[in-house]
């Protein structure tokens, strides 16, 4: 089955053909998927080797000369390891790039903690001006990548994952999409969490919003949803639990509301195994979500 990352390398290669501003910058990881593109565009397919500070710094330098760099490696080595380069070379220099990560929170559980990055979005959240896309399907990844590259000199993060939904939904690079409407709570499912959220909320009278662009956060869509469904709100994110509670509570600052932030826990599990096993361990499979979402919106109904 095609992964988001397969689609990324195919689309980024086409973008190199189509747009002379585009450069793809790699640090060894992912280079094999760009062999043909590297032959066609030797000056714009740049592999700096296993050097992640240089990866981000050089991308910023490219941007300073007017290029639009697409920077790709595992999330842990793209956002966490060179974080000061992300903060200063892109942020402080007032320039931009499209950072496209693979690996997500635990795409390769057998690889262990060093290749897990549940904190990437929270870390970017300490900075100003980032757009963050979290596609849930390869088709959405393509659409969001194209939005990201076309977004002038903006700073954009695209978080790819092996975890995916069965079917794509229309995404526009900005707004949440209403998947289901109810009257007893709002559940915001981020990217690849949607299928599990839909299974978990089967039979519950809740609105389900689908979020693939989480920064900026579509506060207007959340507020609109609460008008009919009430202000019991659950966020289900495929990265660190609670990452978006700040922006959700800001969106509802002037109304009484209850908020539950579900996602990946902070505790290091020190387990290998499979993606499904890790989702279950963090309570992010349909069963775990059902228990916690059901208890939360049920408790809200009793107290109301």
């Amino acid at each position: 089955m095609e992964t988001m990352r397969d689609r990324f390398s195919a689309v980024a290669s086409r973008l190199l053909d189509e747009d002379p501003r585009v450069a793809v910058v790699l640090a060894a990881i992912g280079r094999d998927a760009f062999t043909a593109a590297a032959r066609r565009h030797p000056d714009r397919l740049i592999n700096v080797g296993i050097r992640e500070q240089l990866l981000v710094g050089a991308a910023a330098g490219l941007s300073l000369t007017g290029m639009r760099p697409i920077v790709h490696t595992f999330a842990a080595f793209l956002v966490e390891r060179p974080f000061e380069q992300v903060k200063l070379d892109l942020g402080h220099q007032d320039t931009g790039a499209v950072l496209v990560s693979a690996g997500a929170s635990f795409d390769w559980p057998a690889g262990g903690q060093t290749h897990m990055s549940p904190g990437d979005v929270a870390l970017l959240d300490t900075l100003d001006g980032w757009t963050v896309h979290v596609p849930g399907h390869p088709d959405e990844a393509e659409t969001l990548l194209r939005h990201a590259v076309a977004a002038g000199d903006d700073k954009v993060y695209v978080r790819l994952s092996l975890q995916r939904n069965r079917l794509p939904l229309p995404v526009d690079g900005a707004r949440f999409h209403t998947v289901r409407e109810g009257r007893a709570g709002v559940v915001v499912a981020v990217g690849p969490m949607l299928d599990a959220v839909l299974a978990a909320t089967e039979g519950l009278d809740v609105t389900v919003l689908y979020a693939t662009t989480v920064r900026p956060f579509d506060a207007a869509a959340l507020r609109r949803a609460t008008e009919a469904a009430g202000t019991d709100v659950v966020l289900v994110e495929p990265y660190l639990a609670g990452t978006s509670t700040r922006v959700a509570t800001e969106a509802l600052a002037d109304v009484p509301h209850r908020l539950l932030g579900l996602g990946v826990g902070r505790r290091e599990l020190r387990r290998y195994g499979t993606l499904d096993e890790h989702l279950a361990a963090h309570g992010l499979d349909a069963r775990g979500l059902r228990e916690r979402i059901g208890a939360f919106v049920g408790a809200g109904a009793v107290s109301a």
Partner: protein
């Protein structure tokens, strides 16, 4: 606002004293002064009028602390007005104790945190090359202690391997690194396939010769030695 260009080297002490408020300040002790002057006066193809031109030479000040000499040279060459200098470091001044490219006309990068300029310069050289702009030179100034930062060594190794022959690094060496590099600074660059020159960082003719030495197919590093920091 008065932009006064065409100042000479002899005007720099006065311009620097506008920032330091100290007429007796030993301006010559500023390690970067002569390197900056020779670059802006005789080497770099950039002027206030061409500060946005795509084919200008780029100078990236990576060693951002102690930027008085840099601001003095930018004022002498007409990039920033002399009237800005006395406000140095104040809330309303564009001139901080580390430069900010968003605030300072002519500053290609903001700096302060060490080890960022050389990777940015590598990217700039790559970007110009990818756009077919093979004439503009990219220059970056780093300090010998700054060279301790590992990010520089990522950049040095890659730039040599990639043959970025429009990339130039000047290392101002005032012997301030905690642990001097065995074999000297130039040896690190040479091992990564850079062309190098090591010269007296106060000798304008020697600096000019080193800055303009041909280096086909390879990036070029100039080590400009000045008096040791701790000897002052």
């Amino acid at each position: 606002m008065t932009i006064t260009a065409d100042h000479g080297y002899d005007d720099l002490p006065r311009l620097m004293s506008l920032m330091t408020g100290d007429e007796k300040h030993d301006f010559a002790a500023t390690s970067t002064l002569d390197v900056l002057w020779v670059l802006y006066d005789r080497v770099l193809d950039v002027t206030p009028e061409r500060a946005e031109a795509t084919d200008r030479d780029r100078f990236l000040l990576s060693k951002g602390h102690g930027p008085m000499a840099y601001y003095a040279v930018l004022a002498a060459k007409g990039f920033v007005p002399e009237e800005w200098l006395p406000g140095f470091g104040s809330y309303d001044s564009p001139l901080g104790h580390h430069p900010d490219r968003v605030l300072v006309p002519g500053a290609e990068i903001g700096s302060g945190s060490l080890g960022h300029g050389l990777p940015l310069a590598v990217g700039s050289a790559l970007g110009l090359r990818a756009q077919g702009l093979t004439d503009p030179a990219v220059w970056v100034l780093i300090g010998d202690a700054e060279l301790d930062e590992g990010s520089n060594h990522e950049a040095i190794a890659y730039a040599g391997a990639a043959g970025l022959d429009r990339l130039h690094t000047v290392v101002v060496d005032n012997a301030s690194a905690s642990h001097a590099l065995p074999g000297g600074i130039a040896a690190r660059f040479e091992a990564a396939n850079w062309s190098t020159s090591t010269v007296d960082g106060r000798d304008h003719a020697a600096l000019y010769e080193a800055f303009t030495a041909p280096h086909p197919g390879r990036p070029h590093a100039v080590v400009a030695r000045v008096e040791p920091k701790n000897a002052r």
